[in-house]
């Protein structure tokens, strides 16, 4: 297993040190910076696999810096996890279209942090994950980016593909719209919950052609479930 470079940008010494330790312990290779300028210098040298970024920073704020990074093609693909202090409204973090991939609010448990980092790395394709997922006669291949029922190819849009991917890796369990948004769209985008319904509808429409619209089930008052059995 390869080791990932993680850039920590955090002004408080105590937290920065703690993060370094936690990440090292978890087998990552962290590099730390105290502000955006310093972080930029590190970036100039080598692109990390992920950036752990404090939302509030002296000088250029973390949010502002993240926004800039996401505009540059060279940096765009580096996933960013924001660290938000308790009291900084979660909504704001979601609302501002920063393009962060996730956020974690302080205080957080090391375990949670590591889990989120792994999740983001996996989602951005840096950790391989399972290439083929089979469920009944459904087959989803992330390498080939193909989805099929039996030997028929399904034509799905990128979002539909991700949604199916999530469902097939988490079958037989109900997920709320919020959970689906977090898992499929990422925790820091803000879109209406009802939009999920529309995507569910679109998925069902495709599955309908194969008489399999029953795979996606509504659980009234809770959300949706993907399951082979009704």
């Amino acid at each position: 297993m390869s080791s990932f470079n993680i850039l920590i940008v955090e002004d408080e010494d105590a937290i920065r040190g703690m993060l370094m330790m936690v990440l090292e312990q978890a087998g990552f290779m962290p590099i730390a910076a105290a502000d955006a300028e310093e972080a930029q210098k590190i970036l100039d040298d080598k692109l990390p696999d992920l950036i752990l970024l404090d939302w509030m920073l002296p000088g250029i704020s973390g949010a502002e810096w993240a926004r800039r990074l996401k505009k540059e093609p060279i940096y765009r693909d580096i996933p960013i996890i924001l660290l938000t202090a308790r009291g900084e409204e979660e909504d704001k973090v979601r609302g501002l279209e920063i393009g962060a991939d996730d956020y974690v609010s302080k205080p957080f448990s090391p375990k949670e942090l590591i889990a989120r980092i792994r999740a983001v790395l996996r989602r951005s394709g840096k950790i391989p994950g399972q290439a083929q997922i089979t469920l009944g006669d459904l087959m989803l291949d992330t390498e080939q980016h193909r989805l099929s029922i039996g030997d028929k190819q399904l034509e799905v849009s990128p979002t539909e593909f991700r949604l199916m991917h999530f469902f097939m890796t988490h079958p037989d369990k109900v997920y709320s719209r919020t959970q689906l948004l977090d898992q499929v769209w990422g925790r820091s985008v803000y879109i209406e919950e009802r939009t999920i319904d529309v995507h569910i509808r679109r998925l069902r429409k495709i599955l309908e052609e194969y008489g399999r619209e029953d795979l996606v089930q509504t659980v009234r008052g809770f959300g949706y479930r993907f399951s082979l059995v009704d």
Copy 2:
């Protein structure tokens, strides 16, 4: 397995020594020089299979020397891997059109270095790999630099040939534009991602003459895939 001569050009004694050891251990035959002049003398004597070159050198900088080498037909085909120290901006390395085949930033792990060396040797055809690759009625011959469908020769440009080579050795898998750039153009060139589209277009145009433009498939939002099946 044959053993490759690798010329190390590095001014710091400690690093030079370390490189010698690491390469020997890995079964290569390294020769070392401390600066460009010394390296040039070694070159005059015998052409190595690959040059491992420090980007910053006293006297003529590594970058400058590499650029000169790439202008001389005799040396052009020797692959060069640049060693960049932390703090030397990656952008510059990519941006300046040095013509290096790859770069590795210090500090690097021996494992990573060896892997990159192997990759570059393979890409430049020094490690034989497969001379002939067949995929359906497609045939690509790396030795003769020929590509054919059935018994018809295809006329492709060098870049198109490399792209086809990569595709035929990695079929049925989606690659992002970035991945294609890294794999086909090499990690140390910086070109626009959209340029890929243009090359794909050119490839398709050629394949079109044989009704095979469907071999190169667009996967919206992700990249391209080469596959015999739709």
